[in-house]
């Protein structure tokens, strides 16, 4: 009889806080900077190289740095391990939902120009539509990478 193990009970034992105070303090200091840079790369994707994929990878890197420096159990408040896969699905649903919202408003799939916001002209509707789907891409990439790290620790 194969039974599912309780999730993430081994990961907390395998990945405790680092014994070196330098690593603990440096990871706590660096992670917010990496998160700020990740959000900058994500939001500035309209004007410079960047976007959802790169910003999501930077956000995931900051969370994984915190997990390795401070330990698995102490960083569950930053990103709970049970939330990673549902968050990834939510990101994909945001993307698909943006597409079907355009269909409901009478346009083609992912045609942002038909959104019912009459105070915006179609080019700016396209700009905000790009931003919506990049939110979905960022959520999916970030939570998928953190989920792979958590399951590597636990497997």
């Amino acid at each position: 009889m194969i039974e599912h193990a309780r999730p993430f009970d081994l990961a907390a034992d395998r990945c405790g806080p680092s014994s070196s105070p330098i690593i603990r303090i440096a990871s706590r200091g660096l992670a917010p900077l990496i998160q700020i840079i990740g959000l900058y790369v994500f939001f500035h994707g309209h004007y410079s190289p960047g976007g959802g994929f790169q910003g999501g990878v930077l956000l995931a890197a900051s969370i994984i740095l915190l997990r390795m420096g401070l330990g698995f159990a102490n960083t569950q408040t930053v990103m709970p391990s049970g939330w990673t896969v549902p968050l990834g699905a939510v990101g994909g649903l945001i993307y698909i939902g943006t597409g079907f919202f355009a269909v409901l408003c009478g346009g083609n799939f992912l045609d942002y120009g038909v959104f019912p916001m009459p105070w915006l002209d179609p080019p700016h509707l396209h700009s905000y539509g790009i931003l919506f789907i990049e939110v979905g891409v960022t959520l999916t990439v970030m939570s998928t990478l953190v989920a792979i790290f958590d399951h590597l620790l636990d497997g």
Binding site: P49, V85, A89, P123, H124, S127, E134, D154
Partner: protein
């Protein structure tokens, strides 16, 4: 064996060098990649994107407009592939009690 490998590498280097010397100059308007109309007289997609991207989406970054607006269905597939890869890793790494 070592001599054969070195000869094959030299041959590849020669082919690559000859191919690189034949490349059109950067920004050459007559090169096929930069033409507005192809050899059959039909308009090329790249020239349309370059001339319309900022007007269509009010976004200066042309790559983002192509990635997330003109070709957003492709990016939807990429996102779902990333998610599906994560799910596959999860099923491989998931620990089962024997």
């Amino acid at each position: 064996m070592k001599l054969h490998q070195a000869l094959v590498l030299l041959a590849f280097a020669a082919v690559l060098t000859m191919a690189a010397m034949q490349l059109p100059a950067r920004g050459d308007a007559a090169s096929p990649a930069n033409r507005v109309f192809n050899t059959r007289g039909e308009p090329v997609a790249g020239a349309h994107y370059i001339s319309h991207a900022e007007k269509d989406a009010a976004t200066p970054n042309m790559v983002t407009v192509i990635l997330a607006d003109y070709r957003s269905f492709d990016t939807l597939g990429e996102t779902l592939v990333v998610f599906a890869g994560g799910i596959a890793c999860l099923f491989i790494l998931r620990r089962l009690k024997p």
